[in-house]
């Protein structure tokens, strides 16, 4: 393993940093990332959330080494084995604690989604508890989805790969929206990923995505009036009811989390932060495992009525449904990566043209190729007159090194 001069894969900029680090960990190839926000005069180098993610990677792996340059613009990462939450290697009570600082602007789903991609390939179950003054469980203005969406729209995708969803858990112990200025929150989230596989199953989702059969969702108000929930739900239902009759949205009201007030004169003082409200909707199709999700949250500066949020969320859901395909943009990275890590067999995935045409998905394809995966095969769907594209992904057969027999 310890080659004298490991061959670094070289990348630039912070674009899809988490995903590159995940791929590096899965394939065992060290990476060298440079020019991370090197042109920005004020926020040069790695951002707080990226540092936190590196710390998290280090705590769930064994033998990984991370080197960051003085300015933070260059990063060298050589991955280790994914051990998960093993006692003695950072975990206490079987849970790895990941404390996020209050300067973070990204939602906790930004950490959760890449972590979930790593988790099936771990040696032991991955139990991570996110806490601290920077955990935002709601959706954020920076484009992250809420934890409810992760649980109801992303985690069910793993079932197709032979990963038991009964062993997955995402506990939201304390909800929080983004704090003042979109920075920080005070939430507590615990991910328990108890299902590890040797190789994920080959997935064929090349049939018609079916029709939307029902819509579920969660409206959350944290530290603001619980009537906001009802108003968001009412407006969203007003738009969606003529289209689908089976709509149920749960309302979740919570107190705002208490965090340390950072007052030097009174170190024990606490304050409430992270108030706000938002709506998450998930449309389930008649075909098993096809989910479309939408997430809208009130900005931390406020000034938006719940009716607007409900309306926006309903329209966003309709837009995402109209994009078609079996997997949405938020789930595409997860599904495509797991397919690429599967056995050396060709899996097929039907994606909407607008989904595959995004920078993220194209960038993901290129990154996968850099890490040694095969090229994707693309072809139009010819069974029906939709404009969807079928992506054929050949697995690399890497799978779980920790569970490798012989």
């Amino acid at each position: 393993m310890a080659a004298p001069h490991p061959e670094y894969l070289r990348f630039t900029t912070h674009r899809s940093l988490t995903h590159r680090l995940v791929l590096s960990t899965l394939t065992g190839r060290p990476v060298h990332i440079s020019q991370i926000r090197s042109s920005s005069p004020t926020q040069t180098g790695l951002a707080p959330h990226e540092i936190s993610f590196l710390r998290l990677l280090e705590s769930i792996t064994n033998g990984s080494s991370i080197q960051i340059s003085y300015t933070g613009t260059t990063l060298t990462y050589s991955p280790g084995l994914i051990t998960g939450s093993v006692e003695g290697l950072g975990a206490s009570g079987g849970v790895v604690k990941c404390i996020l600082p209050e300067t973070i602007r990204r939602g906790v789903s930004w950490f959760l989604i890449p972590l979930c991609i790593l988790a099936p390939f771990s040696k032991a179950p991955v139990n991570v508890r996110f806490e601290g003054d920077g955990v935002i469980t709601s959706a954020t203005e920076t484009g992250d989805i809420s934890v409810d969406s992760v649980r109801t729209a992303i985690l069910p995708l793993y079932e197709k790969f032979g990963i038991l969803s009964s062993k997955l858990e995402l506990r939201v112990l304390q909800r929080s929206c983004a704090g003042p200025g979109g920075k920080g929150g005070g939430g507590i989230v615990e991910l328990r990923f108890g299902s590890q596989v040797r190789l994920p199953k080959t997935v064929h989702m090349n049939r018609s995505p079916g029709r939307v059969r029902r819509i579920r969702g969660v409206a959350y108000s944290t530290g603001v009036s619980a009537s906001n929930n009802a108003r968001m739900i009412h407006t969203a239902r007003g738009i969606l009811n003529p289209l689908v009759n089976d709509i149920h949205v749960a309302a979740q009201y919570d107190q705002a989390p208490l965090v340390s007030s950072r007052d030097k004169s009174d170190p024990g003082a606490k304050k409430r932060t992270g108030i706000g409200f938002g709506l998450c909707l998930v449309a389930e199709s008649s075909v098993d495992g096809v989910l479309y999700s939408a997430d809208v949250v009130a900005p931390s500066s406020g000034g938006v009525t719940p009716e607007d949020i409900g309306k926006q969320c309903a329209y966003q859901l309709l837009e995402i449904i109209s994009q078609g395909g079996c997997v949405t943009r938020v789930g595409a990275a997860t599904v495509l990566t797991l397919m690429a890590m599967g056995s050396e067999d060709v899996g097929r995935l039907r994606l909407g043209r607008d989904v595959i045409g995004t920078e993220d998905v194209v960038g993901l394809g290129r990154d996968l190729k850099m890490f040694g995966a095969s090229n994707w095969g693309l072809r139009d769907v010819d069974e029906d007159d939709s404009t969807d594209i079928i992506v054929s992904v050949k697995g690399t057969g890497v799978g779980n090194i920790g569970k490798k027999i012989a």
């Binding site: 649980r151 109801t152 069910p156 997955l168 009412h234 749960a250 979740q252 389930e284 098993d288």
Partner: protein
């Protein structure tokens, strides 16, 4: 700002009252009323006047009100009042928001990812949740039947003033009743072991209470149920293995009571023609 507003409000109220008074005192309206009374009187005696007049009258009725309002010195404010009265109706269909059923909500909001095909329970027996009464399946009918039977058997427990619910102490009583119905010999409420003096005391107290109840009922002329007499032994007593079939063996002797002897001897006959045969039978028995 607030106090002035309050004043204005009061004034406008007064103004409207004034207006109304003006309406009442207005000569035009008085005349109208008089006409109306006359018309009614006339119609009562003769036949109804042509309807055309009514339609003419109605537009006449409206203007006097307006006039009176214009005449009043508070016209500006009253007009303002008219324009400011806006009925804003915030229609909120909270009741229409069909919430998920309790089970569904529990499953959906749990920490696990929702399964693709969550099965819904067919019958929910809880009072809070919706019961599907139109479910005609055999299982549902059986369930309802059982519930009814239980209600009939246990409803008397609900009579007690201290605990009118089927919980707490009454739940234990109900359980006991069910066990008895299933054939249990002992009651779960009866303490199995206790000092004899306690047991005697308890039984004595029970008897005393029962006697008192009966006595009072008798004094008041209330007819009670029949007193449950102590159970008399009927049928054969179970003797142990090796014990004699008749009599009692004690002190190395078999003791026969008179009753035993009577039974062995059989019924005594009076001296009649059949005595010999009867004696014969008796003899036979004796020989055994």
């Amino acid at each position: 700002m607030a106090p002035t507003l309050g004043k204005r409000k009061r004034r406008t109220a007064e103004a409207t009252e004034d207006n109304r008074e003006d309406d009442g005192e207005g000569s035009a309206s008085l005349e109208l009323d008089a006409q109306e009374i006359f018309r009614r009187h006339f119609e009562a005696q003769f036949k109804p006047l042509p309807v055309v007049q009514k339609t003419v009258k109605e537009p006449e009725e409206a203007p006097p009100e307006d006039e009176s309002e214009e005449d009043s010195e508070w016209d500006g404010i009253s007009e303002e009042e008219e324009t400011t009265v806006q009925v804003v109706e915030h229609v909120d269909a909270h009741s229409q928001i069909a919430a998920m059923s309790k089970e569904e909500l529990k499953v959906f909001m749990s920490s696990k990812p929702p399964t693709a095909h969550a099965k819904q329970p067919l019958i929910r027996n809880k009072a809070g949740t919706a019961t599907e009464d139109d479910d005609a399946s055999e299982a549902a009918n059986l369930k309802k039947d059982l519930a009814l039977q239980r209600l009939l058997a246990e409803s008397h427990l609900l009579d007690s003033a201290t605990n009118p619910t089927l919980s707490g102490n009454n739940r234990h009583k109900a359980t006991d009743l069910r066990l008895q119905a299933l054939g249990s010999k002992i009651s779960i409420l009866k303490q199995e072991k206790m000092p004899m003096s306690h047991r005697k005391g308890i039984i004595a107290k029970q008897n005393e209470r029962e006697e008192k109840r009966r006595k009072e009922a008798k004094e008041n002329g209330i007819i009670l149920e029949k007193a449950k007499s102590a159970k008399k032994f009927e049928g054969k007593r179970d003797r142990g293995v090796g014990a004699p079939a008749v009599g009692r063996f004690s002190g190395g002797t078999l003791k026969l009571s008179k009753k035993d002897i009577m039974e062995i001897e059989g019924p005594r006959r009076s001296a009649s023609g059949r005595g010999g045969r009867g004696g014969g039978r008796g003899r036979g028995k004796r020989g055994r």
